[in-house]
Amino acid sequence: MASVFFSSALELITTPSYIGLMLCFVALGILLGALPGISVNMSLILALPLTYNMQTKTAMCVLLACYVGAMSGGLISAIALNIPGTGSSIATTFDGHPMAQKGQAGKAIGVGILTSFVGGLISFVLLMYIAPLIADIALKFGPWEYFAIGLFSISMIVSVAGDNVVKGVLAALLGMCLACTGTDPVGAVPRYNFGLHALDGGIKITALMCGMFAVPEVIKLALDLDDQSTEVRQLEKLRGFGISMAEYLSRWWNILRSAVIGAYVGLLPGVGGSSASLLAYMTAKNQSKHPETFGTGEIDGLIASETANNACIGGAMIPMLALGIPGSSTAAIVLSALTLHGVQCGPLAFIENTELIYSIFAILMIANFYMLFIERGVLNGYLKVLTAPRRITMVFVMMMCFLGSYSARSNFADVFVFVIGGVLGYFLQKAGIMRAAIILGYILSDIIEDNFVRALSISRGNPARLLKRPIAIAFLVLAVLSFAWSLYKSIKASKRKAAHSA
């Protein structure tokens, strides 16, 4: 088996057309991922039509190179602009942007790139060696388990949303409410659309996220045109990745754990990069010796988020190849490209399509390396762009956001969501309510509600079936404990504040 892998890999790195194609699409993926308003899925959809007339292997080169690039590219705008380029980079803004504000933009991006590479590498190794073995885990997770994981994730958001539990819960619930607009999961009946059919499809995440993160930046800029204090700066020229090997490897436990979390969440069909990076971040914060530094520019937070979201790629490919079930919505697009070329994925794919499967592994590995070099290569150039006045760069960003919001579904309502969500986001930020918590609440709402309804639908409305599912119960217990812990910390913090001001 190893020989098939190595011969595929060798062919890929010695054939000029493959080299050129992969370099090109990794670069394109990075660019698209970095642009706010264009999600990872969108990047692949843009590349998809180009793959029609290609051989299957070439098509995979294009799509997977784009996937790896885009997943990693999101960190650039997350760190530099505080606007996540993709949903999976939301957790990167928590510590990435504060680092940039402290004059460490280059270091933050450099570390982000390195750790994206490592995360991807670990998950691709897992993919290659144990995919068929662990694919079945994806099946053990039924609706009750997803419901429990969703609730657990909400409790985690609350714990990260600052010292004030009330505001954290408020943010998460607000996000969940926004997600309820659209069609209901049982009867597909439109709801909360206020009679506007444009909202029948719900409020689109891209528009909302861009709005809530980008528009407040613009409003702030408009109100404080001469304020230079929040400019992103890089004080020294960046050497290497901005971090010494020794320092990076000293955080090996964080890296490994985040990669495993990312791969594992990617493995579960129905949850993807955003949940992966969030869970890894939360875990890193909770297990850290100095959790209070998280959110102020703590490198461990950045490492956790970016390692996990790239590890998610390998994880999502596992059930896709081994079971024929895509592990994330992005993997679904890759799967449809394979279907278009007449390739069946599933348990027999490893036997019937060995050469292609191993080529896919090789493509992922090589694209990962290309991503590392390209992204690091353009880093210095990119930092120079950042020194341009923000009032110019923000205009461009806003343009991209408008286009991106509309193009997701060709629905003009999304543009309104972008603008209105943006203004709302500005005031919410002023009120100290964490916007990322709102967005994450939104993402988790589908998982929670759909699966709850599904679980009850299967058991004919009888919730007692839950008691027979140990994994689900375990997560629910964790959710309760996590929430209780946040509550306790919050009460302690307010007592401390009261004591100090007394």
């Binding site: 059919h197 499809g201 079930i325």
Partner: protein, 315 residues
């Protein structure tokens, strides 16, 4: 006077140029809206777009929307000049009949063609269940379900064709509990994971599992055996009058000129005869079909009527 003459001249030129435009149709790329990216409909639309390019001379750009209803709705306001089309499937008629659209799915559009049909949904259960309950044929399943009413859970997708299929089986006497599980991928996941007992869906999804022996396929829903799985009996052989069809439609906004529609219909005919098209679809067990303008219009009208007749209307 001069102004009037120039006004008339301008109108004449415009009229002539628009007629000329119609004759030269298409002169630029056409946008075709469809459902979500990565779905079966999207796949079929893209195959069509790729092949149609040869005969049309211009590109067809696929524009994804949130779902079948959005895909159709987004062309209701478009200019009827033939540069905006919609590729959809029969779920739109189900949604219409169930009152979920604010437009008429048949009368609100010009139906250009029915370019593909997927006949047959396969009914499968896990091997474990088959052995444990002694279910070897569809008849056994029927008897088992009646002896244990409501025990067997069949997965469906709310408001979609899968829902119709499960209802048809329940009508035929299978005492299933219908669980709203979600799209085809979710049904497969939950089926393999043991959360639902009966899987209704595309054979391509369970093909590898049947080969491996984990899954037993009991029948295909239809009046005759599917040519893709000639060894698997059809429901008609057991006496159940159930049919399952997914078909695709290409529609244009109401008022699109007749010659544009005819040109499109002609392209569809050529595409349907193209072996590249038929083979690409056949790999996913979809039959390439061609119905002319009148035939297509009648096809969709009859289908919608059938839905109302079997009691799906909730308006």
């Amino acid at each position: 006077m001069k102004k009037l003459v120039s006004l008339v001249a301008i109108c004449a030129v415009l009229a002539v140029s628009s007629a000329a435009l119609a004759a030269d149709y298409p002169t630029r790329a056409i946008t075709m809206t469809t459902s979500r990216a990565g779905s079966q409909i999207d796949f079929a639309a893209r195959v069509f777009a790729k092949i149609a390019h040869k005969y049309l001379g211009e590109n067809i750009i696929i524009s994804n929307t949130a779902g079948v209803v959005d895909a159709s709705r987004s062309i209701t306001g478009a200019a009827p000049d033939g540069y905006t089309l919609c590729w959809n499937n029969n779920s739109i008629f189900i949604s219409d009949v169930m009152g979920r659209t604010d437009f008429d799915s048949v009368e609100g559009f010009e139906t250009v063609c029915v370019p593909g049909e997927k006949r047959g949904t396969w009914i499968a259960i896990k091997k474990d269940l088959a052995d444990e309950a002694g279910i070897h044929t569809l008849k056994d399943l029927w008897e088992y379900s009646r002896k244990h009413p409501g025990d067997l859970v069949a997965g469906d997708t709310p408001g979609a064709v899968a829902h119709v299929e499960v209802l048809e089986l329940i009508e035929a006497g299978f005492d299933f509990t219908s669980a709203a599980v979600g799209d085809a991928n979710k049904r497969l996941t939950n089926f393999l994971g043991g959360n639902i007992d009966v899987f209704l869906g595309a054979y391509s999804l369970i093909d590898q599992y049947v080969k491996r022996g984990d899954v037993v396929c009991l029948a295909s829903m239809g009046k005759e055996r599917s040519k893709y799985t000639p060894d698997i009996p059809c429901t008609a052989e057991f006496g159940y009058n159930t049919d399952a069809v997914v078909f695709y439609t290409i529609t244009a906004p109401k008022g699109t000129p007749k010659d544009v529609l005819e040109k499109l219909s002609d392209v569809c005919k050529k595409v349907a005869a193209d072996p590249e098209y038929t083979e690409a679809l056949a790999k996913n067990m979809i039959d390439a079909t061609y119905y002319d303008l009148e035939g297509s219009r009648k096809y969709v009208a009859d289908y919608k009527k059938m839905l109302v007749d079997i009691g799906m209307a909730t308006k």
